[in-house]
């Protein structure tokens, strides 16, 4: 389980995250929901130590974060953009002991990626798929995805959603931020709603759906008044 405990983050005069605590379980998809600028990406980057929190802590299964067990997938390339996909793979094989080449090859084939393509030449959707393939092939217990659906075409979206419901993702914990709730609503187990850097609601999606008959978007409307 990923435990985020009482974290705070300030950028200059703006308190971006204010005393946020939540958990994300293994084998479940937890979605961080919020309007733009509510601190979703900052939270993911903070968990990975890319923007250290001013206060609070993050534990993975009760221990400090182990980067062999957690992978972060950003909404942009995390390699120099003149790299080809196969160069990215070679780099990952060199530096990630858990990198699974067979799994990567399978994802490359499923996503119809061309290993010799440069990252700079990829469309946003193809880049998202390449990023995801590189992240999943790290074979992590937990996967942190920052806006994986942002600005990508409907077919790429479908392929990624299909992957989420496949056995490849079954045992992994996923913490995702997205604006495109409708596309993955039926996959999400838990939602954590943020507003102005605070958690305004945290709920089990199935409970809300079956007990209250509401979708995540309905709850969003209530909270954000949109």
């Amino acid at each position: 389980m990923i435990e985020v405990l009482g974290v705070k983050k300030r950028y200059r005069r703006k308190q971006v995250i204010e005393d946020v605590s939540f958990t994300a379980n293994k084998g479940e998809i937890t979605c961080l929901i919020g309007l733009n600028g509510t601190g979703k990406s900052t939270l993911l980057k903070g968990i990975m130590g890319l923007t250290p929190f001013d206060k609070g802590s993050v534990l993975i299964d009760g221990k400090p974060i182990d980067l062999n067990r957690v992978a972060f997938v950003a909404d942009h390339a995390m390699f120099p953009i003149h790299f080809t996909i196969e160069q990215c793979e070679a780099f990952m094989k060199d530096f990630y002991p858990t990198f699974d080449s067979a799994l990567f090859a399978r994802l490359v084939e499923d996503f119809k990626l061309f290993p010799e393509d440069k990252l700079s030449e990829l469309s946003k959707g193809t880049l998202a798929k390449a990023n995801l393939a590189l992240g999943i092939a790290q074979d992590p217990d937990y996967l942190l995805l920052d806006e994986p659906f942002s600005g990508i075409d409907v077919f790429s979206k479908e392929q990624i959603v299909e992957l989420f419901s496949s056995e490849i993702m079954e045992s992994r914990g996923v913490l995702i931020t997205t604006h495109e709730i409708e596309d993955i609503e039926y996959l999400i187990d838990k939602a954590v709603m943020l507003n102005n850097g605070r958690i305004v609601r945290e709920f089990d999606v199935e409970d809300v759906r079956f007990i209250h008959g509401k979708s995540i978007v309905d709850v969003m409307r209530e909270e954000y008044g949109a």
Binding site: Y11, G49, L50, T51, F79
Partner: protein, 268 residues
């Protein structure tokens, strides 16, 4: 193991710019050497025609020429800039590659030492290449003037030992060479500390460059002020010990700062 892999990776990234720098230096130096030989020969011929050929040239005359000094200045500037750029380039484009480097399952200091080793290898590489280039220039220099029967004074070693910059690059003793390399390493460590402090505070304040520079200026000046205060009370041996201690303190403090900011404060 990861250190070697990262080092090889950094070296691979710098190979093209490094070779471009080397090619530039060689073109400038040999181009200037050609001009120098032609110009000096004409000058000597003119003196000889005027019956006033009491003229002696040394290799140092060439080495003190502005284009030669400029080529060394370009190399120093390029190395200083690259010491900054080796970090900043990985923050380019929404902090892309730095995100990968910082989320790799390894100690972040591995990255620090890989980048430091890259800069030091580049510096030593430049020194070695420049030494070979100097030897070749000296051979060309002596062969040309010998052929023209123009008298020359001073040896290659003398020219190096009387030249301000070359004396630092190629000191006469191994101990001095090690001390000079240590000073170069400390200079690079200061630059690294500057970048890492600045990158740690850039999201907090727009004054992060000023803040990091101030911290480093304080660290740099305290021992110098201390020396100004103590200099009259120290004998020669004690001064040497003091300077040695200051170098060790500067190296330790900058590495400690680099470690602290890289591991716990850096913002991407």
């Amino acid at each position: 193991m990861n250190l070697l892999k990262l080092l090889s990776w950094e070296v691979e990234r710098v190979t093209k710019p490094f070779l471009t720098l080397v090619a530039g230096l060689i073109v400038i130096q040999f181009g200037y050497l050609g001009y120098f030989l032609w110009d000096e020969t004409n000058f000597y011929e003119q003196l000889r025609r005027e019956g006033n050929a009491d003229y002696q040239l040394s290799f140092l005359n060439y080495l003190n020429g502005t284009p030669y000094l400029l080529s060394l200045g370009i190399a120093v500037a390029a190395m200083l800039l690259y010491s900054v750029w080796i970090w900043y380039r990985d923050f380019q484009g929404r902090g892309t590659f730095m995100m990968r480097l910082l989320t790799m399952p390894q100690k972040r200091m591995t990255l620090f030492f890989a980048k430091l080793a890259t800069i030091l290898m580049m510096t030593l590489g430049l020194f070695a290449i420049e030494w070979i280039a100097l030897k070749l220039q000296y051979i060309a220099f002596t062969s040309w003037f010998d052929g023209k029967m123009i008298p020359m004074g001073g040896s290659f070693e003398q020219a190096i030992s009387y030249h301000g910059m070359l004396m630092v690059m190629y000191p006469s003793s191994l101990i001095n060479f090690v001390i000079h390399q240590l000073i170069i390493t400390i200079a690079v460590l200061f630059i690294f500390a500057f970048v890492l402090i600045e990158r740690s505070f850039w999201q907090r304040t727009m004054w992060s460059p000023v803040l990091s520079l101030s911290i480093l200026v304080v660290i740099l000046t305290i021992p110098i002020l201390g020396y100004a205060f103590l200099s009259n009370r120290l004998i020669y041996d004690e001064t040497i010990v003091y300077v040695g201690m200051v170098l060790v303190v500067w190296a330790s403090v900058t590495i400690w700062l680099g470690r602290r900011f890289l591991q716990t404060k850096l913002n991407v």
